[in-house]
Amino acid sequence: MSVREQNGSVPAAVLGWSRALPDLACDVVTDADFSKPYLYDQAGVLPGRLVLLRSRVLEWAHAVGLLEHDREDVVMAADEALSNAMEHAFPDGGGNVTLFAARDRLARAVHVVVSDNGTWSVPLGHSRGGGMGLVMMDRLADVFDLHHDERGTTVVLRWARRANA
């Protein structure tokens, strides 16, 4: 279930999380319209969480009025971002993945942000998807940005607003 804030301001938990993010992802969060449905969730690194997270992304995509193919693209790309984080970030298990999705204040785009605080010790190209997950994100989203530093990895996905979205 996605939520919305009465006054549209950035909720404290989301604000705290965004301050540790790279610039682009932080901007996405501060520019988000919190009076519209948004999604903010943290999950342990367990592939068994993906089903629930995908259903939440789909529900949110419905709530912000995305059309069917856009909804599918958003769910697919978000799943790849979450899967990548789960596969690579925490070789020893443990740790959290954060999922954020919202529309921007000017209603020009929707964004999905996935961040982890892991180490990504396994090279990207050696995943189960053989780098396919990155290719998919790049092709599914209008903008795909992956930022990796000592704090962890952050993926930003952007879809420009279309039709009634």
């Binding site: 068994g48 995908r54 053989g130 997950g133």
Partner: protein, 142 residues
């Protein structure tokens, strides 16, 4: 509105609840590996295990039926590419639902795989000899 419970407070899904993979054989001695449900990071190992078993050397020809797959992630695409590379050339026809086919096209791998719309078409692909086999769109040079 009350915020939903965090995903981490819920019980993680069991792979068998998310994807069912069944291996069956028909009179023509064709093995069908049929998946129903969602193929993701959690469930891809179920599909991989079934394909590994079905594609053991000397075993009968195999069809992968994904017509009842509603979600297909990159991990699943990788499993199909590995299985196709392991088997005899062009001998692993895949029945794709429209959703799966759309994904394979976005990934750009539909030409590397032998994709058919129906199980009957996929089986026909196996029962035809090499010479009889028509050159479908995804088999031919572009």
């Amino acid at each position: 509105m009350k915020p939903p419970r965090a995903a981490s407070e819920r019980r993680p899904a069991d792979p068998h609840e998310v994807l069912t993979v069944r291996t069956t054989s028909d009179q023509a001695d064709i093995v069908v590996v049929a998946a129903a449900g969602e193929v993701d990071l959690l469930t891809t190992p179920l599909l991989e295990q079934a394909l590994d078993t079905a594609l053991r050397p000397g075993s009968p020809p195999v069809v992968v039926d994904l017509s009842r797959v509603t979600f297909f992630a990159a991990a699943g695409i990788r499993a199909l590419l590995v299985a196709t590379a392991a088997g005899p050339r062009r001998r692993l026809p895949i029945v794709a639902s429209p959703d799966v086919l759309r994904l394979l096209r976005i990934a750009g791998v539909d030409k590397q795989l032998t994709v058919r719309d129906t199980l009957a078409d996929a089986m026909r692909h196996l029962t035809m000899s090499e010479a009889e086999r028509p050159t479908y769109g995804n088999d031919s040079r572009r």
